[in-house]
């Protein structure tokens, strides 16, 4: 029924597109390249609740999943640039090209702003041999390359890069930690508790329930500052390791949206992001809200892509 309504609305609204000031005259769609309920989906739905109020029109969140996010990102990049289809781009898209998965990359989008970021961490088994970060690093250094395993995402995914960057910053090989690919954080944490995995470099937010149950412990976070959810866990910088890594979720659009519509989108999205209830819903879930100018986001994405592709090169995962 929603589709029918959209189809009807699009038919009626065609003449209105010429008047950019009147955007939006019909519902706006936000495409999420990941499944309902995941991190990207949660961030988008929280943002959409505020965006809807700012626009005064319904905002539909549509999950287009598959192919490690390629499908959804392609849907955003190739959508008609009329401002009615926007989406949430996640850090994965900067690596599609190096990984040989798709030609889509930062150049395929109008990069608007990051909405939120989720830092990586170092999570270990609670009753495992290492009680803190220093003990874990000592074991890594003493052990063989590939002796210890990490998991949390598919090969070449964000948390894999987090682990690779960590060992590189510690002066070891990027594949010092052997990567066991998984379908996300929950199964990886499960494998860690079951004893098959030694460390989880994924989001400490994902590990929260198991931390509370005293099955795992977070010994470091890869953020600029300590996380509100873990006030007692030091950052890597505090521990003397120069490595920061986070996953981010950003508002992106197909390129070449009319300038007036683009201004309206940026203005409404910025206000939506600043709404107290949006901020509060994010804070409740440990998500760090971020809002910036398109220029600063583009610069950030560029640096991020350079660091990522460097790591992928060293890991031998670059295909093109």
């Amino acid at each position: 029924m929603i589709t029918r309504r959209l189809a009807l609305a699009s038919g009626l609204a065609l003449p209105a597109i010429a008047h950019a000031q009147s955007w939006p005259t019909r519902p706006v769609t936000l495409v999420v390249p990941w499944a309902a309920g995941g991190g990207a989906d949660t961030v988008t739905r929280i943002f959409a609740s505020g965006f809807e109020k700012e626009l005064g029109k319904p905002v539909n969140v549509v999950n287009r999943t598959g192919g490690n996010g390629v499908v959804g990102h392609a849907a955003i990049a190739t959508a008609s640039p009329d401002g009615y289809t926007l989406g949430t781009g996640t850090s994965e898209f900067v690596n599609f090209k190096p990984l040989g998965q798709s030609d889509i990359g930062p150049q395929s989008f109008d990069l608007m702003s990051r909405i939120a970021s989720i830092p990586a961490g170092v999570t270990l088994k609670a009753d495992g041999p290492w009680k803190d970060f220093a003990a874990f690093v000592a074991a890594l250094k003493a052990g063989r390359r590939g002796q210890y395993t990490g998991s949390g995402v598919s090969t070449g995914g964000s948390w894999h890069l987090a682990a690779a960057g960590l060992t590189r910053a510690l002066g070891m090989e990027v594949d010092r930690i052997r990567w066991v690919p998984s379908q996300g954080g929950a199964p990886a944490l499960q494998d860690m508790v079951a004893g098959g995995i030694d460390m989880f470099p994924g989001s400490p937010i994902e590990a929260k329930a198991r931390v509370d149950a005293e099955q795992v412990r977070v010994v470091a976070v890869m953020a600029e500052a300590r996380m509100g959810m873990y006030p007692n866990v030091p950052t890597l910088k505090e521990l003397g390791v120069d490595w920061v890594f986070q996953n981010w979720f950003a508002l992106v659009a197909p390129p070449r949206i009319p300038a007036a519509v683009r201004t309206r989108i940026l203005e409404a999205a910025g206000k939506a992001h600043a709404r107290p209830e949006v901020r509060e819903l994010m804070a409740q879930r440990g998500i760090v809200p971020t809002w910036e100018t398109p220029e600063s986001f583009s610069a950030y994405a560029k640096t991020y892509a350079e660091v990522s592709s460097g790591l992928l090169h060293e890991l031998g995962l670059v295909r093109s």
Binding site: A36, G66, Q190, L317
Partner: protein
Amino acid sequence: MGNLDALMHGFTVALTFHHILLMIAGVLLGILVGVLPGLGAPNGVTLLLPLTFSMDPVSAIILLTSTYWGALFGGSTTSILFNIPGEPSSVATTFDGYPMARAGRATEALTYAFMSAGFGALVGVIVITLLSGFVTSFALRFGPPEYFAVYFLAFASFVAFGSGAPLKTIVSICLGFAFGAVGMDSVSGAMRLTFDFNDLIRGISFLVVVIGLFGIGEMLLTLEEGVEFRGASGRLNPREIISAIRRLPRYWVAMLRGSAVGVWMGITPGGPTAASFMSYGLAKRLSKRGANFGKGEPEGVIAPETADHSAGTSAMLPMLALGIPGSATSAVMLGGLMIWGLSPGPMLFVERADFVWGMIASMYLGNVVGVVLVLATVPFFAAMLSVPFTIIGPIIVTVCIVGAWTVAGAPFDLWLVVVFGITGWAMKKLDYPIAPLVLAMVIGDKAEDAFRQSMIMSQGSIGVLWSSPLVGVLSTLAIVLLLVPVFTAWRARRRKGHVEEEVPSE
């Protein structure tokens, strides 16, 4: 008996007018999405998910789980009546349900399916109620090698007992594995069998294949055999429902075995689809009436249905306690939990006891509501069989196409449905069994991931499949099950050579 006290408290949470209303709404909606092929429980729950954001978590989970139960019930209906599974987990129900419907026993088959499904669900909830602590600590021991062993076991127990020419079965299995492999390989990140088609990146949806092979394939077959819709009588007789219910206790062994398989597969978590196949395979092997399977044997309906539902319900436990979804639908609900601000995990049982036990209590009530509602619809659905094919045929094709569209909203999938429809028709004409293809597609992909993860963890040693008593027993059992038919066939052949008279007719 702390759990029982908690459950009673849960009933006080769940038994309000508001919640009963939500259950009825959820079940009815679920039956609807379940009946429509393609629009399965995961889609139904996903569509409802945004609605629940403004509800309190208990009401929200009651609505979503009730939709799930409804969909599980509804999925069996079209399997039995039209040989078109409404849900992936009802594929195994078509094997005997459809022959029963064709023989004029549709009401009976539907009643068996719904009653045994309700029974399976109750067993699942009872296990959750009584053994939640034990089960979660057991499930915690599952890593990739254990997952692989469980998938392997499910696969072996179905395939080993399959009928039909072995070579054709193997072809069917290989096709299933190949279709399952399409898309991105999550272990290496490489694209497989996509032939540079962007639409193949997300892989071939299992639902699209099922809709094509069964739905469109069946339609083509019917068209070819003559326009008259075959045989099935649409007489509706409420007495038949009652008498079928009376006959049900006769099948208690099948029901208990099905429930046990279902609970096991729900917790481990192999999921309802694998559970229903495994249960059907075991029933065929172990039942005295095994030879009748595939020809319209009630046990062949009861076995997969009990397993399907007990797996569906018991899969809620690992979801709540571990954050590991046991089925596609519970994966969506898991997302719901996060959005409602609940983090699934062992602490959920402690910190949010009212939510957990309210939900468990609602699972008892929701399934009772489900059985009653769905039995009430039996005469209606059975009457659909007497509608002339010229009317019902186009409706089914339309529903199939719409169902395929809802999977991903991709035009490409509609072409796939047509291609698989023709494939399904050809396979039936040439006597290639379709079930092994479906099973290989469901299990193949997950089993492959689990196997390769195990190999990375063990650095290439196959010994990891015998590295602990748990996984060792599972792996050994699977291999034994796989080899038994080979062995018996070999022995039968040898005996044939020596003693011509004592040939067991196969």
